[in-house]
């Protein structure tokens, strides 16, 4: 790195394994947005680009503060979301560790560029603070946007709460830059319910940072006029209009999705696996991700108090989707209940596609954008599944 490089605060450099699993932690009571920004502060990020889409979360303001304090070398506000996502691609190809966050309409606005990130081998981390995208707009959450995001080739992690948001964001940087992965990682969580609400978060020390990016340790090395391998950059672009290009597109995208799958071992290493299972012997399981998992966890607690045979599965990783893990976990289950913070039920479709007996899946409960997901809704489905008479005033 040149002597003219922008200075960053001196920190103790540690590897991802130590930072996530062994580093001392102190408890803070912070919002989900703060949790994401605190992770960015510790992730040795070089550069961040912001766009204030409505309804934006505070994340990129907080990252701006981090820049002002010297934790990040470069930070600017782009002209729009597509500009942000594009500039991230340009910057990451030029060899720096990148972060941005967006929400709802902003994600869809930037999706054209995001869909091209994996093919460009961009190991950037994208915070997705989900919001309603369909008219009439609401500023509250609804995670339909993840349905669009999960077919882009990027990893998609879904955080249940503020602690998850911190850990997943930090892990995302480590996973994205693994040589056998090297594709972007999106860390999604529900806007408002998580981003604007406070929770307890055990954070690592502020003066301890992740190992810096090595732009040469990559399947497609960063563009650089000084180091020979990437002097002539001809790998990332995939062109069209001849049979070779169709072949190479297929090969290239196959490699992207293989990279996506190969990340699973790192999800086990840094996040304890793609799913969390409670009561593995139960007859009925509540399967949920993100904020719905928090409600499902509560429903599981109610059910336990009532002595019902109910288990709980939290899905941490939407891409790669834990097909084998879920199939194994529910192989003896009689019913699966999939509560979701969206009305289309993308998680439900994924779960159904993962098991041979999709008839056992109860489609819902689901709530429209802006609505909360009361535990009672999940309980009603649990009672139905177990054939228990109930009379809840919902």
């Amino acid at each position: 790195m040149s002597q003219n490089a922008r200075p960053k605060l001196e920190k103790k450099i540690v590897d991802a394994g130590y930072l996530l699993k062994e580093a001392p932690r102190t408890q803070q009571f912070i919002t989900g947005a703060q949790a994401m920004a605190e992770a960015v502060k510790r992730a040795n990020v070089d550069m961040a680009i912001a766009y204030p889409i409505t309804p934006q979360s505070e994340v990129m303001h907080l990252v701006g503060d981090i820049y002002a304090q010297g934790h990040i070398k470069e930070y600017y506000r782009a002209e729009e979301e597509l500009g942000t996502m594009s500039a991230i691609a340009g910057a990451a190809r030029a060899g720096v560790r990148m972060f941005t966050a967006t929400s709802g309409p902003g994600l869809l606005r930037g999706l054209e560029a995001i869909a091209s990130w994996p093919g460009h081998r961009i190991p950037a981390v994208l915070g997705v603070l989900t919001r309603v995208v369909n008219a009439p707009l609401s500023i509250q959450p609804d995670n339909i946007e993840i349905a669009y995001l999960m077919h882009c080739g990027a990893l998609v992690l879904h955080a249940e709460n503020q602690q998850d948001t911190f850990d997943m964001t930090l892990a995302a940087f480590a996973i994205a830059e693994k040589v056998d992965v090297y594709i972007p990682v999106a860390v999604a969580t529900e806007g408002f319910f998580v981003t604007h609400a406070k929770g307890y978060v055990n954070t690592t020390p502020e003066d301890m940072a992740l190992t810096p990016i090595d732009p040469t340790a990559a399947p497609v090395p960063a563009m650089d006029n000084e180091t020979p391998p990437a002097r002539i950059q001809r790998d990332a672009p995939v062109q069209k209009s001849n049979f070779m290009s169709y072949l190479i597109h297929a090969v290239w995208q196959q490699e992207i999705w293989d990279s996506n799958k190969r990340s699973m071992k790192y999800i086990y290493e840094y996040l304890g696996g793609p799913i969390e299972v409670q009561d593995p012997e139960a007859d009925v399981f509540v399967v949920a991700s993100g904020c719905a998992a928090a409600q499902a966890r509560e429903a599981h607690r109610y059910a336990q108090e009532e002595g019902l045979s109910v288990g709980f599965i939290k899905v941490r990783s939407i891409r790669p989707f834990p097909v084998d893990e879920i199939r194994e976990a529910v192989k003896n289950a009689k019913k699966l209940i999939v509560p979701e913070h969206n009305i289309i039920g993308w998680l439900c479709k994924e779960v159904k596609a993962s098991i041979p007996n999709s008839g056992i899946v109860v489609e819902g409960p689901r709530v429209y954008g802006g609505m909360t997901l009361p535990v009672e809704l999940i309980m009603a489905e649990i009672y139905n599944a177990l054939g228990i008479e109930h009379n809840m005033k919902l």
Binding site: M1, S2, Q3, N4, A5, R6, D46, M47, I49, K73, E74, Y76, A78, E79, E80, L82, G83, T84, S86, A87, I88, A89, G90, A91, A92, R93, A94, G95, V96, E112, A113, S116, H120, M223, D224, N225, E226, A230, R231, I232, Q233, R234, A236, P237, V238, Q239, K240, S241, N242, M244, S245, I248
Partner: protein, 340 residues
């Protein structure tokens, strides 16, 4: 050389020395190698080669979707001899901005170039271009202006000249091609008060090189619009490209100007302004203007008025023979004088 030259006069010898001297200083670096798949007579390919030669090896390129991107990088080949990246149609300005910021953060001094066609610059990529310039990124943006979406099949862009035929502005008994005017992109860009914005034409390679070198020396956003004929889209033979591009300048329809911080600071004077019909007749896209119809005659008058307006506005009328005017520039062999 020593003493009398057997053929050249003293004056000719002086010029010859100058040319040799200039050649020696001329960068011979080929950033865009030959063997790519541009059509015969492609103005954009030549313009890009000139830009890369003048810009030199220490550059990175962010290329918008378009002919240039397609014909230079058919997998698994690449004509580029510098780091080069293509992402999408509308984001060359944004990609370049990100690259430049990342290089700056790493303390690297590589200059970032951003290339787009007129569709990728005037229309779909305009926001990215504007944002990049507004934030003052150290990027030279080059627009290869062939006045329509040639890569996608000759659709009208906001750069297409008035009355031109494209696949989405067809002439017919009721219409005379494009109804609207060509967008004045260089003025719009210059209104960002960037250090340097200029137009040039591939018919004047010396002018192209000079402007690229000028822009390369400036720390900050710079913009160059190069008029680059497309034989296919304009309806002419490839061998006519340069002659037709030259006519666009000589008629006043494509004024060659320089703007610094928004102020006009230089023009390429026209020695003998030609009637616009000379330029228009050479191209199939204006064929409908030469039918015996009052609308056609009206549009011809309209286009002549536009050219006259350009000549008056930018004071393009030359003041006698000059090496640096539209006739003098780049006429090495025919008139024995070359300036660079």
């Amino acid at each position: 050389m020593n003493g009398e030259h057997p053929i050249m006069s003293a004056n000719e010898q002086l010029n010859a020395i100058k040319v040799t001297e200039l050649r020696r200083h001329q960068p011979r670096f080929q950033g865009l190698a030959s063997g790519h798949r541009a059509c015969l007579g492609c103005g954009e390919a030549l313009a890009a080669r000139l830009v890369m030669e003048a810009a030199g090896p220490d550059v990175m390129v962010a290329n918008a979707t378009g002919c240039l991107e397609i014909f230079t990088t058919p997998w698994p080949e690449s004509a580029w001899r510098v780091p080069w990246m293509h992402s999408l149609f509308e984001n060359a300005g944004a990609i370049a901005a990100g690259m430049e910021a990342a290089l700056k953060a790493q303390g690297k001094t590589t200059k970032v170039l951003s290339f787009g066609g007129d569709g990728g610059t005037f229309d779909i990529g305009f926001q990215a271009l504007s944002g990049m310039m507004e934030r003052g990124h150290n990027v030279l943006y080059v627009c290869y202006d062939n006045e329509a979406y040639m890569n996608t099949g000759i659709q009208r862009s906001s750069s297409t000249p008035h009355a031109a035929m494209t696949t989405t502005s067809p002439p017919g008994s009721e219409r005379m091609g494009k109804r609207h005017l060509k967008k004045d992109i260089v003025s719009i860009v210059a209104a960002h008060h960037i250090p340097y914005a200029a137009t040039s034409s591939v018919a004047f390679p010396t002018d192209v090189r000079k402007k690229v070198r000028r822009a390369m020396e400036i720390e900050g956003p710079t913009f160059l619009q190069i008029h680059s004929p497309c034989p296919l889209g304009w309806g002419m033979e490839g061998e006519e490209s340069i002659a037709v591009a030259r006519l666009a300048v000589e008629t006043g329809l494509f004024p060659i100007i320089e703007l610094e911080r928004g102020q006009l600071t230089g023009v390429l004077p026209i020695r003998d302004p030609k009637p616009v019909s000379e330029y228009l007749k050479a191209q199939g896209r204006f064929r409908h203007l030469f039918q015996d119809h009052y609308k056609a005659r009206e549009e011809l008058e309209h286009l002549q008025a536009l050219a006259d307006h350009n000549i008056a506005t930018f004071d393009l009328t030359g003041h006698g023979a000059d090496n640096q005017d539209s006739t003098g520039l780049n006429r090495v062999k025919r008139e024995g004088v070359r300036s660079a």
